[in-house]
């Protein structure tokens, strides 16, 4: 039952972390010089008392701590405010974008990790000398390129150049499937997803790959691998055992990857005009639409924190030697 105590502990930590991040964010947004009503001042639309009424309705004239408590209460009830720009509840604006982001990011991250692990395990197992220097240099390249530049290159070649893929967006408006391939369900979506996902995968797969490879190299030197062969196990069983033991560090790394994942996602969404939380956040910051920016950022942070929790818990199942806490 130590396990449950550990999970409980981590959950508690997660809540504390969440609270801290929320407060931090709230504080940051409150630090903005001027208040949100300035968006209306520019156009000179509203007379002063209407402005005051607006401020009051937004709770901007209440004392600071009151605003904070209101903020927390609103969050818990799912009230994320109203978008200054869209004049609609933030939740309405945000939700469809959320699914778009989860779709793209989820597919990309999973693919990057899986491909990275599989190739890394293979490279580590084979341990060819030639492959090492060339391979690690080759893998270094995607990591060093800005993710949006990879996207630009792909766009230039495959979208603008060859015309195989659309240049952006989620779907083709009024898409009429012609060929049998195009009539497959989800074809249009897949076509639009292909380049953004490819961009993310190229960028994010090098780290899991190198980590898995290094981990594998260390594991195959361990005594229990030799002992497994001494027991007469098939090579493929030994390899599976090696993989299972080597994957720990990859999982640890995933926590770091997760905190950079949204960064990559933002850039990809902006570049490919993908209607997701990332592009929404960037646009709303530029437009000074604080409720939306705040909510989008909050969602990204909460997902990051929850994923970290998930990874921590998963790790315990991967490696039974871990001491809880």
């Amino acid at each position: 039952m130590e396990l449950w105590r550990y999970i409980g502990n981590r959950l508690l930590q997660t809540v504390v972390t969440l609270l801290a991040v929320l407060t931090l964010m709230w504080g940051m947004f409150r630090l903005i010089p001027g208040d949100p009503t300035t968006i209306f001042l520019g156009s000179g639309e509203l007379p002063p008392d209407a402005l005051a009424a607006l401020r009051h309705s937004w709770g901007l004239d209440a004392p600071l701590y009151q605003q904070y408590l209101d903020y927390l209460r609103n969050l818990l009830t799912g009230n994320l405010g109203v978008s200054f720009y869209y004049r609609r509840p933030v939740l309405d604006v945000l939700l469809p974008m959320l699914w778009n982001t989860i779709l793209l990011m989820g597919v990309a991250m999973v693919l990057a990790t899986v491909i990275g692990v599989v190739v890394g395990a293979y490279l580590g197992w084979k341990r060819g000398q030639r492959i090492e220097t060339i391979g690690s240099l080759l893998v270094l390249i995607p990591r060093s390129l800005p993710i949006f530049w990879i996207g630009i290159m792909l766009l230039m070649v495959f979208a603008y150049g060859l015309g195989w893929f659309p240049i952006g967006g989620l779907r083709t408006p009024a898409f009429i499937p012609e060929t049998p391939l195009q009539q497959l369900p989800g074809y249009d979506l897949a076509q639009h997803m292909f380049l953004p996902v490819l961009t993310s995968v190229i960028y994010f797969l090098s780290d899991p790959l190198m980590i898995m490879r290094t981990s594998m190299l260390e594991v195959i030197e361990e005594d229990f691998i030799m002992f497994a062969r001494a027991r007469g196990l098939h090579e493929r069983t030994v390899r599976k055992m090696a993989r299972r033991n080597a994957i720990g560090p990859v999982l640890t790394y995933l926590a770091i990857m997760v905190s950079f994942a949204f960064g990559g996602q933002v850039l990809v969404e902006v570049l490919f005009s993908w209607p997701g939380m990332g592009s929404l956040m960037v646009n709303s910051v530029a437009q000074r639409d604080y409720p939306v920016a705040q909510a989008a950022f909050f969602l990204m942070a909460i997902i990051t924190i929850l994923l970290n929790l998930l990874i921590d818990v998963l790790y315990v199942f991967i490696d039974p030697r871990v001491h809880y806490g």
Binding site: Q13, V16, T17, L18, A20, V21, L24, M25, M28, F29, L31, I32, T133, S136, L137, L140, I141, R143, S144, L145, P146, I147, F148, W149, I152, M153, L155, M156, Y160, T214, E218, A255, I256, S259, F260, A261, F262, G263, G264, V266, L267, V270, L271, G278, M281, V282, V285, A286, A293, A296, F297, M300, A301, T304, I305, N308
Partner: protein, 296 residues
């Protein structure tokens, strides 16, 4: 040079990391690239053929827009008629400044946090690690976007933002190292001899975690350059300075990347080279920390 109590060599550590890095081809290449970039950054006004902001005009007085590479403009011109090569050269300054300064701050903050947390343990450790957890929970680029937008996009704000967040990995790693070093006989001996905590931390432990810190300095350069490029690409870069990311941003905004590869490819390659050199050095620095990784 270990003393009787099993101390690790101290002063000698300074010289050896550099030579280990230089001895390998990868490390030497990384250092070479870094040196070249530094030289370019320093000598920018002397090397650049034109003023990077200068708008060039054709004989008929129209803007020399998106001209392909020629003998006059080695890497062609941008949408606004500016020389790409000059922009690239001056962009090196921004990259180096941001890279080096951010890396320095990241390492300074991270190493100290790790030192204090690992050495003192107890509530100090818990507090510092909780803070680190919070920072880890914050997705980097989105936060950077918000912070820079709030503060006003400028080079110092960008450096501040990057340093504010990216110290987290260094902190965790250094802390782990300090935890294991703390139990060594020579540390215990120093404490028994009456050395103050600060003295033990900075005079005895710090030199031994320095190789690890160096590793993160070089990784930090890589992260910082990429971060600045990303921020610029999103439009939150310092408008008064021309960074490589800015060049790409303008290429994207004006749609010139569709047709004109010379505006897009060179900046990307520059970023990649600089970042890769940082990671190459980092990789070799890692073998100092983990000698098993060294080539036989």
């Amino acid at each position: 040079m270990a003393d009787v109590m099993g101390a690790l060599p101290r002063r000698r550590g300074w010289q050896t990391p550099l030579f280990i890095i230089l001895r390998s081809r990868i490390g030497a290449t990384g250092v070479l690239i870094l040196v070249i970039f530094t030289a370019v950054a320093l000598a920018a006004p002397l090397i650049a053929p034109y003023d990077p902001f200068q708008i060039h005009r054709l004989p008929d007085n129209s803007v020399a827009q998106l001209l392909p590479p020629s003998s006059q403009f080695w890497l062609g011109t941008t949408y606004y008629g500016r020389d790409v090569l000059s922009q690239l050269i001056f962009g090196t300054r921004v990259a180096m400044i941001v890279g080096i300064l951010s890396a320095f701050f990241i390492t300074a903050i991270g190493t100290n946090v790790g030192l204090f947390a690992g050495y003192f343990g107890g509530w100090i450790d818990s507090l510092l690690m909780r803070i680190t957890d919070v920072v880890f929970g914050i997705p980097f680029l989105p936060f950077a976007v918000v912070l820079v937008a709030l503060l006003r996009p400028s080079l110092s704000n960008i450096i501040l933002t990057i340093s504010c967040l990216l110290w987290r990995t260094t902190a965790r790693v250094i802390r782990a190292q300090v935890l294991s070093l703390r139990e060594r006989p020579f540390i215990k001996a120093a404490r028994m001899a009456g050395a103050s905590d600060l003295r033990v931390m900075y005079v005895h432990i710090l030199p031994n975690v320095l190789p690890m810190s160096l590793l993160y300095v070089s990784l930090g350069i890589g992260w910082a350059v990429l971060a600045e490029a990303s921020l610029s690409f999103l439009g939150f870069g310092d408008p008064s300075m021309l960074s490589w990311g800015e060049i790409l941003y303008q290429a994207y905004l004006t749609g010139s990347f569709r047709s004109s590869w010379w505006v897009v490819v060179p900046p990307g390659i520059c970023i990649a080279l600089l970042v890769a050199s940082a990671f190459m050095i980092g990789r070799e620095a890692e073998t100092i920390v983990n000698p098993r990784l060294r080539d036989p």
